[in-house]
Structure formats: C-alpha cells, structure tokens
Amino acid sequence: MFRFIVRRLLQMIPILFGITVITFIIINAAGSPLQQMEFNPRVKPEDIARIRHNLGLDEPLWKRYFIWVGNVLQGDLGLSLINFRPVTERIREVMFNTLLLSSISITLSLLIAVPLGIYSATHRNGRIDRISSLFAVAGYAIPTVWLGLLLILLFSVQFSKWGLPSLPVGGVRDLRDDGGLGDRIEHLILPITALVLPQVATWLFYIRSNMLEVLQQDYIRAARAKGLRNKTVLYGHGLRNVLIPLVTLFGLLIPDIFAGALVVENVFAYPGMGRLAITAIGDKDHTLVMGITLMFAVLVIVGNLIADVLYAVVDPRIRLD
C-alpha cells in the first residue's frame, strides 16, 4: 500500500509538469499582463519597462517558467499581479469554501443515491423505481446554471415576494449581521442543492444498473440458497460488489464535481476557487491563474489517488504493490 502511494505520488510529477507547462504557454501566448498600460498614453514607456523588469517579465519564457517552478518547490506561488498579495494566501482564503461545498455535496448525494439506487434495483419497476429513474434522467439533463438560477428565482425571489421565509441569493454569510453557523448553513443550502441534484442523478443511474447486474450473479443466488437474511445478501454481498465500479466512477467524477463547483460558485457569488479563477483570468493575473490551475490539478490527482486506494480497500482481490 505504502509503496503504491509513493509510486503514484511520483507519477503525479510529470502530469503536474505537463499541465503547468501547458497553462504557462497558453496564458503567456495571450500577451503580457501589462498590455493595457501600453495603450494608456499617460503611462510612460520607461515606467512600463521598469514594471516589466520588476515583475521579471523581461526574462525569456522558459527561464520564467523554471523560476516559477523553483519557487513553487519552496512553497511560494508568487504574488498576485493585481494587489501583490501572496497567491498562496488568496487561494487559502477561498479553498476551504470550495472544499466545503464539494465535500458536503459528494457526501449528501451518496447518502441519497446509494439507498435509493439499491431500493430501485430490488423493487424494479415499482413506483419508487419509476420516480427515481425519471428523476435520474431529468437530473442528468438539467443544466446546473439553470437549476441554480431557478432555485434563486423560487426560494429567494418568489418566497420573499410571498412573504415566506426566503433563502439568501448568494455569498457565504450575511454581511449586515453575522449569524454564525446557522447563517453559514442558510447560505449553503441553495448552492449545495444545485450541485447535489445532478450528482444524485448520475450516481443513481450507475448504482441501480450495477446492482441489477450484481443481483443476477450466481453468488447472490448461492447466498440466498444457503438461507441468509435478505438484508445480509443485499448489503453484505450485493453492495460490496457494487462499490467496486462506484469507486472507479468516483475517481472519474472528481473533475466534474469541481467543474460543477466552478459554475455554482459563479451563479451564487460564492467566494470559492472557481469564482477566484474566473476573476483571475479576467484580470490577466498570471501568477494567480497559474496557482489556481496547479491547485485544481493537485486536487483532481489526489482525488484519483484516493479513489485508487479505496479500490484496494473495497476489493480485497486487488493488491496495490
């Protein structure tokens, strides 16, 4: 196990190297962050030259990349070009929000999808199964952006018009008076709903079809034949085997979950990494963009690593070494 994790961590290096090189090239090919100043008649050319030199933008591209890598290896992601605050600090401020949003939505959607999927599979073509299948198809097709806006329209705008208790439109906390934990939760309800519904749909679809497949296997019949209780058969024999493909799916879905967070954060003005990324790109804040891309890549790769380790936990036949 330990050797496997170390090997996978070593495999991360070329991938991270690749993605940072690509990002670096893409972002620099778009032109210098000082471009706006060059069109400003009030800024003197020698000032631009000085700023460029101070920011190190006059060095050749490859050299700048290696300087950046060298700094990253020492835990320094550089300074934001907009307000010269350390990139690590700006990311740390919002990283927790994004991780909170994604981890709650993953947990919640699994808590809903696993029992529902198993129930649908065991009570095939029953009423619950039909409703949940319909829900899965609809949830898979609904655009997260639209879902978020509709939730705001209904629960924030209409509810307050009707005089019902309404939920906040966006943000993480009430700026006028900080209501503590309850207030935080209130602000999380809508974004998490917008993230959870499509996720549940995806999980439900896979859990149901995998469970159906597993239930037809010989070992399930054998377990039933030897007189085990239905619950033991379903959860001990059935679920254990459904978990294996689910873990793979979990690894594959991680980028999707962050992509969903990117959209949801921007719909709900939620200060997370996705929103920061869009702001940074708009500002041409090269160092911040590089930092966020790197963090996203690390999160995705670590997520995949966790999925692989879980794989061995779930399926004792798999030896990682």
Binding site: I26, I27, V137, P143, F296
Partner: protein, 296 residues
Amino acid sequence: MERDWSMANRASGGNARRAWRRFKRNRVAVIALAVLIAIVIFSLSAGLISTFITGFDYEENHLDLARSKPGEHGYILGSDANGRDVLTRLAYGGRVSLLFATMAAIATLLIGSVVGMIAGFASGWTDATLMRFADVLLSIPSISILVLVSSIYRPGYFLLALIFSLLLWPGISRIVRGETISIRSQPYIEAAQVNGATNARLIGRHILPNVLPIMLIWASQVIPAFIITEAALSFLGLGVQPPRPSWGNMLLEAQNYYMTNWTNVFLPGMMIFLTALSINLIGNGLRDALDPRMER
C-alpha cells in the same frame, strides 16, 4: 462470393430495421425523438421565424422596448435588456448550441475512435503509448484548460468544438479500444485474416460496424453534456459572444434582471433541458433497441 456480400448486406439492413422496430415500441423514446425533431426544425428555421413570425432580426436593438414581458409590444416571448426579441434569439441560439455540440461530438468521436481502434488493434507498445497519453489527458482537469483557453482566445464555436474534442477524446477511445480488443479475439476475425484480409479491411469491414452502436450510444450521452458545458461556458461569459445568441449567453444576460423578467431565465434553460433530456431518452431507447440482451 457475390452471394456472400448480398447476404451480409441484407443481414445488416435487417438488423437496423429490427432495431428500428424495437425502438418504435419504446413510447418514451419516440416522443423524445419527436421533441428533438421539433427543436431541430425550430432552430434550423430561425431565419424563417425571424422574417415571417416575429419580424425581428436576432441582433436588432430597441432600447426603448427593453425587458418587455411576453406578448408586450409585439414580442411574442418578450425582449431582453437591449430590446432584442427573445423568440428569434432562442431559435438562432439553438442553431449555435446544436451545431456546436454535434460538431464537438463528431470530432471527439473521430479522434477517440481512431485512436481506440489503432490502440486495440495494434496492441504492444503502440497501445501502451497511446493509452498512457490518454491517461494523462484524463487526469488533467479539462474544465480549467477550457476556461483558460476560451477566456484568452475567445474562440468561435467552431474552434471551441475542436478544443473540446482535443481535450475529451480519451473517454471514448478507451471504450472503443476495449471493444476492439474483445472483437479482435473472435474466431471470425481470425477467419478473415486467414482469407488474406488486410488490416484496413479488418477494421473497416469487421471492427467498425461492431463498434458503431457503442459510438452511437456514447454520442447520445455526450451531446447533451456538450450542450450543457457550452451553456456553462457561455454563462461564465467565455463561450459564444453576444450579440450572437446562444442559450448559455442568454441565461447570463437574463440573470441580471430575473426579478422582473423571469421568463428570460426560464426559456433558454428550458430549451437546453428539453434538448438534453430528449437526446438522453433517445439514447436509452437506442441502447435497448441495439442490444436486445441488455434488458433494463
């Protein structure tokens, strides 16, 4: 020899006809197909709708008539913040969204299936190299690259489709590779090889027709996903740029005044939802029709 060919053709024609008969029996899928055809006709006749029904061009501003409710001032479905007709823009936006998703899916299929078939067929180091490359691409969070590229270069939807395909081909290539490997080991492939079939002929004549249904089903899952992703990018202001409408940038524009004109948020999203839903349902119907063993 002659007779063999006609037999083969008749058999495959028969398969398609049988699949269609099975598909027709699936009422949900048939309704979905009708809905999709309606949406496609609506989008393709955008020019006609603009000339004959609404009388507005898609980028025609009437700032004095901005944010009209449906039915007001001759706007059948209302107008947006610039006083542009929503119905006309929905039709033109549909053209963009559908065209984009179809092109992106075709390009992704082309790259992915060619790579997958080559990898599965060649095996050995070719396979290993191609699949390693696919693994690396899969572990890159493609959305961040998409956001980055589209924010910096503001590509048109044609270029955007190409970028999508370059980033997203590994998924289908893995599926095609797996299928190719399993077909490759079938006796009839060996028989064809013994009869002196070239590799190109093996792929074109024996492997491709067997992989085709999987590719179709995959496309039915991925086209809705592409439509939704394009809408998300346009919503972030990174996809199709106004005044050219897309369902996504109509959502972006409308979110600034959803308090007064909720239909402007509702309608484009509904179009995305209906399109994605109908394609998904058609895909489910196709899967059942093409693979009678898989009883769901």
